[in-house]
């Protein structure tokens, strides 16, 4: 029952919470662009100079994504002991530096207390979950060697089963407590993200990213509509019936 909730229901609940939270933050954001720009400034103040945490988290995220997207390549890479050691050391190093970055960020949170109680509480909750995720992940790397190898035969199929909508709970239920804690807290961290002051930053970032990504499409649709306008204007019978007067 508990396992079913933690690894069958909770991942989907976390995604729903994340989407609902983001939607709520998006709808709650005040109107025009200037105010939208102001909101994240608060977060920018708080999260500036956290390059260590950001780079470490990015590295960890990319490592996890590699295991998810290309498990065979990861296994092939790990088939050489030296490459395996390098990958594990890199992963563990990234985990440690992320924990270092987390410490700096938390210290800034403790010192800076000009935000609302709600914001501070949400940030503290998020940071606690982030710590749990990072700490359990780093400890897993120490206590259960070669996570990059066994992870892609247990955790990757589990995540794929989640995406398929048929969670294979067995794949994760038999793993040690620390690994299960890591999985659970990762989803919890994801769910809590919109409630923090990072939520609006994420929305603005997402919007900019989408604009950037979709800009070629935008150019194409604009050009198509211009061409359609010209063609429509030429074929408009009104021009022949009522020619424009000079």
């Amino acid at each position: 029952m508990q396992t079913a909730f933690l690894f069958q229901t909770w991942p989907y609940a976390a995604v729903v919470l994340f989407v609902a939270g983001m939607a709520a933050r998006y709808l709650g954001m005040p109107g025009p662009t200037s105010a939208q720009r102001d909101l994240p400034l608060d977060a920018r103040d708080l999260f500036r100079r956290t390059a260590l945490l950001q780079i470490s988290l990015l590295l960890l995220l990319l490592g996890h994504l590699a295991g998810l997207l290309s498990p065979q390549r990861v296994l092939l890479w790990n088939s050489s002991p030296l490459r395996l050691y390098a990958l594990e050391i890199l992963g563990f190093g990234a985990g440690l530096s992320a924990l270092g970055g987390w410490t700096l960020l938390t210290w800034r949170h403790v010192k800076q207390s000009d935000a609302s109680i709600e914001s501070q509480a949400a940030d503290a909750f998020f940071l606690s979950l982030l710590f749990t995720t990072l700490f359990s992940g780093s400890l897993t790397a120490v206590l259960f060697r070669w996570g990059s190898s066994w992870g892609v035969i247990t955790l990757t199929p589990y995540v794929v089963s989640l995406l398929r909508g048929r969670p294979a709970v067995d794949l994760v239920a038999g793993l040690p407590f620390l690994v299960r804690l890591h999985v659970f807290s990762a989803f919890a961290t994801f769910a809590a993200l919109p409630a923090t002051r990072l939520g609006p930053v994420l929305i603005v970032g997402l919007r900019r990213g989408l604009r950037l990504t979709l800009s070629p499409v935008q150019v194409l649709t604009d050009s198509a509509s211009k061409i359609a306008e010209v063609v429509a204007r030429r074929l408009d019978p009104a021009i022949w019936i009522w020619p424009e007067e000079d």
Partner: protein, 396 residues
């Protein structure tokens, strides 16, 4: 006037376009699920292993469904002995009876009615979920005396050749890939043999052979230790030969002395599995029992208890060198009885307690050299007794 109109129209169009862009942006957020779909498509994980051989499936079905009520060549259990059934009955009748025995009996079929009467009116379940091909495969399996065939992994590890042990090492470390696409043991386990370290998600397997012993380890190797892909999706994750090679490598790593070279007729004969020995000698720990499905519902937990102080243990005459281990018993009295029998023919027979999850009493014959130990082991080897050689260190 015309210019003014055009400007107004353009302003209006620009505003409309801004709103349209905002609306389309929101709509395009729907693209996000596409990323998830992409991850799903790209990250399907390791490919599934090839479909298992038909006989493997037939064997699995036989073990799971038939053996509850039938034997193969061992007489009547609940239902008739299935040996020779394909010669006694027409194939079409067998297919029909296996899938819908109730209907066949109700139809008044004379053979089915007689069977029903002879076997205390116990009705066989209708295995209607089995396809005709599956039933056909089971019948082929019976026709070839499949249940009587021993798999290579049922050989005793002491009969392994040097090549098989080396292959086991290569399979363990992943140098040679497993036939059905499974991951090497080293992904999660280590063996202390001076090579590059294995993973530590699972336990160190250096002493696994000595802990679980041959038959229990054979059973254990027939299924993946933890659910994982692709092994959990495939009906088999090791071929019987791979299983044997790995067992032999673990036995070697655990200190079991295995004579090198091809198996002789004697060792090959000794390699035949005998379950009666397992019943007498193998006492798996609770964990081993659970992992090999030896614990049934209602089994009482065992509390390990020290039966004798270390001080009262009889001293080992050979503190180093080799020993032929003839048996291991939970019951010290049985160990003493075997010791008395052996002492009639051999010197240096000892009973040594071994405390792990339970206390076991190992009956050993100490020997200074391996040749003598091998000779004694060969002399003692019988269908119900399979001695093996261990290297002694100071602790033994």
């Amino acid at each position: 006037m015309s210019t003014h109109c055009e400007t107004t129209v353009l302003d209006a169009r620009s505003r409309v376009r801004t709103f349209a862009a905002e609306a389309s942006l929101r709509k395009r957020l729907a693209c996000v699920p596409l990323i998830a779909v992409w991850i799903f498509v790209i990250g399907r994980g390791p490919g599934l292993a090839a479909a298992p051989a038909v006989s493997v499936e037939a064997k699995a079905i036989f073990s799971k469904r038939c053996t509850v009520c039938h034997t193969f060549g061992k007489g009547v259990k609940v239902g008739p002995d299935l040996k020779g059934v394909t010669e006694r009955r027409p194939r079409e009748w067998l297919v029909r009876f296996i899938r819908t025995s109730s209907s066949v009996i109700q139809s008044g079929d004379p053979t089915a009615t007689k069977l029903f009467r002879d076997f205390k009116q116990e009705r066989m379940p209708d295995w209607s979920d089995l396809s005709s091909d599956q039933v056909s495969a089971i019948l082929d399996y019976f026709a070839s005396d499949g249940p009587l065939q021993k798999e290579p992994d049922e050989r005793d590890a002491s009969t392994a050749t040097a090549d098989e042990i080396e292959m086991g090492r290569q399979l363990f470390s992943g140098v040679t890939r497993l036939n059905q696409g499974g991951r090497s043991c080293k992904t999660c386990h280590a063996i202390r043999s001076g090579e590059s370290a294995g993973g530590s998600l699972g336990p160190d397997l250096t002493g696994a052979y000595l802990k679980y012993r041959d038959a229990a380890l054979t059973d254990f190797l027939r299924r993946p230790c933890i659910p994982r892909e692709p092994e959990s999706s495939a009906s088999g994750y090791l071929t019987p030969q791979e299983s044997f090679d790995l067992k032999a490598y673990m036995a070697k790593a655990g200190g079991l002395l295995i004579p090198s070279g091809p198996p002789t007729a004697q060792t090959a004969a000794a390699g035949q599995v005998n379950r009666s020995r397992e019943e007498k000698v193998i006492d798996p720990s609770e964990r081993a029992a659970r992992e090999t499905d030896k614990v049934a519902a209602g089994a009482a937990p065992v509390r390990p208890k020290v039966l004798k102080d270390e001080g009262s243990v009889k001293a080992t005459p050979a503190a180093s060198g080799f020993a032929v281990q003839v048996g291991a018993f939970e019951d010290e009295q049985k160990a003493d009885e075997l010791k008395k029998q052996l002492e009639k023919n051999y010197p240096n027979v000892t009973v040594q307690p071994f405390s792990a999850d339970k206390t076991l009493y190992k009956v050993r014959i100490g020997q200074p050299d391996m040749e003598t130990a091998n000779r004694i082991a060969a002399e003692l080897r019988k269908p119900d007794l399979k001695p093996f050689i261990v290297r002694l260190n100071g602790d033994d």
